[in-house]
Symmetry: C2
Subunit: 291 residues, 2 copies
């Protein structure tokens, strides 16, 4: 038996990031390793303590995770794959409990907010107790085994802490997705262990960061022209102001196509003429949405 790929993620066991690990990597070939912070995941990847990392890069309600873009810029890592995980909240309680017994509901305030309608209708008298994260709330409910206590957390948390699911997918807004990236160091085969089911038929995506040269009039327009002139479509564009440097920005771009395509090679050559710096983060299959 070959040894398993160690995949680092941030959060408690049972967090949504762990679901992303399971969607991206074949479960029989990989093991998910929790870390307390994004920085510590990057450090573990760079030192070889883990073989890959899976990290959130943007959420459909809460925006890009700039911190992980910064860490991508600072570290010598490449993107291996992506997946979009729908954030689905479950009402979890100790086994044997039923919904009419619940007097207290524990979860992160964001998750509580997303399930307010459900709580109003089905548990109007329950006391809502804020917790610092959803998986932590599930862990706590499992530890106490009080049949009157429930947590709002993920399906992975239900499995991890052996809790019963009293109600499924109780969030009001079903358009809550988090996009996760799988990362590895450039010297390894980034396709190893990836679950092929995750790649869509939409072809490749290339992600990059760049900064405009200073005092280049119409710099943004010119930098996008290098792609438009070659009929290369964009999946994402975002400007991020550099704090303390008014008028200076970093741009996040996701392009349709592979960095080895002639048109993209030419476009990147052209971009380097007019940009202060360009960093290619990787080319990878457009990932699926996991409901």
């Amino acid at each position: 038996m070959s040894s398993k790929l160690r995949i680092g993620f941030q959060g408690e066991v049972g967090a949504y990031s762990e679901e992303a690990v399971g969607a991206l990597y074949k479960t029989e070939q990989s093991v998910a390793v929790p870390f307390p912070s994004f920085e510590s995941v990057f450090e573990a990847l760079q030192s070889g303590e883990v073989d890959r990392a899976v990290l959130p890069i943007e959420n459909s309600l809460f925006g890009s995770v700039h911190q992980n873009y910064d860490l991508l810029r600072e570290h010598d890592v490449n993107i291996a794959a992506e997946v979009q995980i729908r954030i689905k909240h479950q009402l979890l309680a100790p086994k044997g409990s039923s919904i009419d017994q619940i007097t207290h509901v524990f979860s992160h305030p964001q998750a509580i907010g997303q399930c307010r309608q459900f709580l109003r209708t089905h548990l109007p008298n329950a006391e809502v107790v804020p917790a610092y994260d959803t998986a932590g709330a599930a862990k706590q409910v499992a530890a106490k085994q009080n049949p009157a206590h429930a947590a709002i957390a993920s399906r992975a948390a239900a499995r991890e802490y052996d809790l019963a699911t009293l109600a499924s997918d109780i969030e009001s807004n079903h358009e809550n997705y988090t996009r996760f990236l799988a990362l590895g160091v450039p010297t390894v085969d980034l396709n190893e262990g990836l679950d092929a089911a995750n790649a869509t038929q939409m072809g490749f995506k290339t992600s990059l960061l760049y900064a405009q040269k200073e005092n280049l009039p119409g710099g943004l327009f010119k930098s996008l022209a290098v792609f438009a002139l070659r009929d290369i479509d964009l999946f994402k564009i975002e400007s991020r102001p550099l704090i303390g440097s008014p008028g200076k920005y970093i741009f996040y771009l996701d392009l349709e196509g592979h960095a080895s395509d002639d048109s993209i090679k030419n476009a990147l050559h052209h971009l380097k003429e007019i940009a202060a710096f360009v960093k290619i983060l990787g080319s990878y299959r457009v990932g699926r949405f996991v409901e």
Copy 2:
């Protein structure tokens, strides 16, 4: 004495949003009113329960608050002003306590993460206890009055809960800013009560949302051309994919200038030719950075 402007914000009293209210509005003419969620702030503004709202729209580390962009799109409100507040964390404890007495530190995990270096150096043996928000942690420490308990929270929380500041500005990354918008309904004078000290000499900014027409080749490039052709600079551009509609996006744009400027009027006329929808969120003075 005339009645004070009621300014709605989301969070506990002592939250960073309350600092933004204080930076945007003259304190003697306004009163900050807390609400549990962003939705409830918008509802209160629309119903007239409050006169203005102050809400976070983006953070330099954590990205745009898409939820508030959605609420801006759905409600008939205008932007009156903006401000960027530096998120500075304080170590707070009951009065009479000193740092060598502290055995427990309470705060939100994000704030704890940002102060890890300080805690490692100055409180290596203290137990760190996650709380659901920074102002809530301060409230709890104030309620118990245990001189061994400290919270990491804002200066506003120190004032609100009458706590001593044992150490100031203990966060490692000083480039953590949140941009807040002041909002009002379109039928009122949006300059009323604003603190003029907040506006910089950089002139006006205009914010808008738009969506491209479907199947318009090079749509993004063409929509930016309407501004580039008229030498209008952009402060911000961000694409946001519409979940469930692959290839469809909403764009967030901040332009330099006022919607009543001839060049911007012409550009917006041009943009409407090629966009599926355009919503102007308002023109307002470029706001300052509050350290």
